[in-house]
């Protein structure tokens, strides 16, 4: 259980980091001109000064920055994320409502990118410098270079407008009510294009990493040994090379779980999905400090959890990590 202790230590180390991040975001948002009452006035199209004053008192904006920050941290210690100015609900509720769409989109596109990244990476490495390799690498480069929003819009034009196979946006069909399996399939249909859009970019990274890592491992001594003892090529690749080449991929997943939350702002906007990314964007524009800090807190938690799982996976893939050598 050395690995649990190791991962546990890293978990404990991330708590101060979390607080530093929250304080940083809090101070950063103080630098943005205007507060949530200004943003509200912008949305309403005007209002008088007395109303604005009342609202500032209501949102606790009449206090000093230090007092506001102290209030926030004190609430956080008691696991109270506060009240959202734009949604009029507790921040925890607002985030929980948005979490399913984000998690669904994130897991779907990460799994898609990871799985096909491995498949194409291995394929390219096995056929290195032949036409298969060139084709896969070129496609990877295209996916990597293409802006996500553009790809999303083009996918909508082709599959939703021209071919009419898939819906152009939204999380589920709202003009008819569904339940059970039919609802699940409906949501899956709605998530297909966003998953591909978000996933293709990461697929490109994964296949490049996988290809490189495979090529490196293929040249190591133990592979020569495996071949020398007469194993067939498939067995060599699957049993010996793949497992060793997977380590960098697993590292990347841990790092990119966080990036993907950010990258999904664009995809969520283009496909009108009710996720955390759009919520975060909205809270910045509306200067809804509590909600934004809540999302940062939540995302940081997600990243920490994913990294914890990655630590466990390391040990599974590479027993040397557990023995501490």
């Amino acid at each position: 259980m050395r690995v649990l202790a190791l991962a546990g230590r890293r978990l404990a180390a991330s708590i101060p980091t979390l607080f530093l991040i929250l304080i940083g975001v809090f101070l950063l948002l103080q630098l943005a001109p205007g507060d949530t009452v200004d943003a509200m006035m912008a949305q309403m199209g005007g209002g008088d000064a007395a109303t604005a004053k009342q609202l500032r008192e209501f949102y606790g904006l009449d206090l000093s920055v230090g007092a506001q920050l102290a209030n926030y941290l004190w609430r956080l210690v008691r696991f109270d994320l506060g009240f959202s100015a734009i949604y009029g609900k507790p921040v925890a509720t607002v985030i929980l409502e948005r979490l399913p769409a984000t998690i669904l989109l994130m897991t779907a596109s990460l799994s898609f990118a990871f799985f096909f990244g491995i498949v194409f990476g291995v394929l390219a490495a096995r056929r290195v410098n032949r036409w298969q390799d060139t084709l896969i690498s070129t496609l990877g480069l295209i996916f990597y270079a293409m802006p996500t929003f553009w790809f999303g819009l083009m996918a909508i034009v082709v599959f939703a407008i021209r071919l009419q196979w898939l819906p152009a946006g939204g999380f589920e069909d709202i003009t008819v009510s569904r339940s059970g399996l039919s609802r699940t399939l409906d949501i899956a249909r709605h998530l297909l294009l966003p998953t591909l859009t978000l996933g293709l970019f990461y697929l490109a990274i994964y296949l490049r990493i996988m290809r490189g890592s495979m090529l490196e491992v293929l040249n190591l001594d133990f592979v020569r040994t495996a071949r020398a003892k007469g194993l067939d090529e498939t067995r060599v690749v699957v049993k010996h090379v793949l497992r060793n080449a997977l380590l960098p991929m697993v590292t990347l997943i841990g790092l990119q779980a966080g990036t993907m939350l950010g990258g999904s702002v664009v995809v969520e906007s283009v496909f009108s999905l009710p996720g955390l990314g759009r919520l975060a964007y909205e809270s910045v524009v509306q200067r809804d400090l509590n909600t934004l800090l809540g999302i940062v807190f939540m995302s940081a938690l997600l990243v920490i959890i994913v990294n914890f799982i990655v630590d466990l996976l390391y040990a599974r893939l590479d027993p040397r990590i557990t023995t501490g050598s």
Binding site: P33, M41, A49
Partner: protein
Amino acid sequence: MDMTRRAALLTSAAIASNVLFPQRSFAQETPRKGGVFTVHYGAEQRQLNPSLQASTGVYIIGGKIQEQLVDLASAGNTVGVLAESWEATPDGKTVTFKLRKGVTWHDGKDFTSADVQFTAMEMWKKILNYGSTLQLFLTAVDTPDPHTAIFRYERPMPLPLLLRALPDLGYISPRHLYEGKGDIRQNPVNLAPVGTGPFKFVQYERGQYVIADRNTNYWRPNAPYLDRIVWRVVTDRSAAAAQMEAGQIHYSPFSGLTISDLARLGKDPRFIVSTKGNEGNARTNTIEFNFRRKELADIRVRRAIAHALNIPFFIENFLGDFAKRGTGPIPSVSTDFYPADNGPQYPYDKAVAIKLLDEAGFKPGAGGTRFTLRLLPAPWGEDISLFATFIQQSLAEVGIRIEIVRNDGGGFLKSVYADHNFDLASGWHQYRNDPAVSTTVWYRSGQPVGAPWTNQWGWTDETMDKIIDDAATEVDAAKRKALYGDFVRRANSELPIWTPIEQIFLTAISAKARNHSNTPRWGSASWHDLWLAE
């Protein structure tokens, strides 16, 4: 998104055809009952009750669920909704509304004058933006019987002003769901509104959709036609256009799509793109001058800046037929107040601009630059952004260097209206059918610091203040109109703000919709007669 000259011209042609033939003739059709109408909802608000917040983002939903005392009919005249008739005493201090009988709230309770009294005193007067200014001198609403509401004012309230303001600022809320239920702003009913309107609120999923269903007890016979309205939250403009093409959205109001997408949809027979139904939502593009800069406090510099901008060129190349040359703070669609003489107009003339700047004593320095100004464009629309760039390039030619400082909504309002941290600002002035509602506050001195869309320019003019105050309480319609003529001419000759471009919102709607765009504020209207053809 940038637009080429070609795209703009194509747009113009497409829109022009729809302006000329906005609705194809359907006289022989009988209205169909049923159907789900889907609406593009671009910017979610914090609440949906139009008695508490006057903005199109609230009316587009709340205006189908709650109703006002009066509305504007197709010709721009006032028609009763919850009020059947109204009259004012000659001194203008008492206005009596006779209310409609047999109207019930969606929860089954009767609508009475007590609701009007509560809404007027607790919501319009205390919370509603622009309502608090309009009803500043409202002292009481008497309710002698359940169907009579008598508004009592401390100072004369011109009846035409009240009637033009109430379509926007006259929505009624149910007293029994608000009184004694704590802070009105935080009442959960604000996000699940209860009204007397043709549609009943069903569900609001933040970030996704709002649903309202047919009110089967609606007071108008045989209305409404639609079974359901669904508002889809789509924040990305291009994505909204794509969803319209894919048939997921029927209607995108208030210029919610990009200019180039509107141009494209306008050429598609499945859609109608038009300014019709938005006549009550006119706006002007503005240039605000900060008088705290000594250069801008000199009227010759302000006039020089106006002369240096080739407005017809900008409109023709960037806005197409959507816009025209503005003449002053009161737009030409305002038939009741548009004056015959608007005062000085500052046509494009670079030589005059240079001469004025020289006279003012700001000679070109090194590199030909006289002085540098910071311009803050408001983030409300792509036209403002284009206009800011146009100002920058045009003024460079007369030796004024412009730095453009971009902000988001909250940041813009704070910088301009609270911190006065700008030299030039550019945005929209929304005209609300009567100059006293939201236009004169741009010019009247003594506005509290931080109140958005008010005179924060550091400009005080006693003549102007007197005209504004006199007009606000003038009961005689002809005298009032004459006073607002003086107001426009004074605004144009002193030039604290310049309003060079006049625009009306654009609507994109499915060609299957019938009885649409038939009132001047149709996007905000109740849609009791809207129906969808097969």
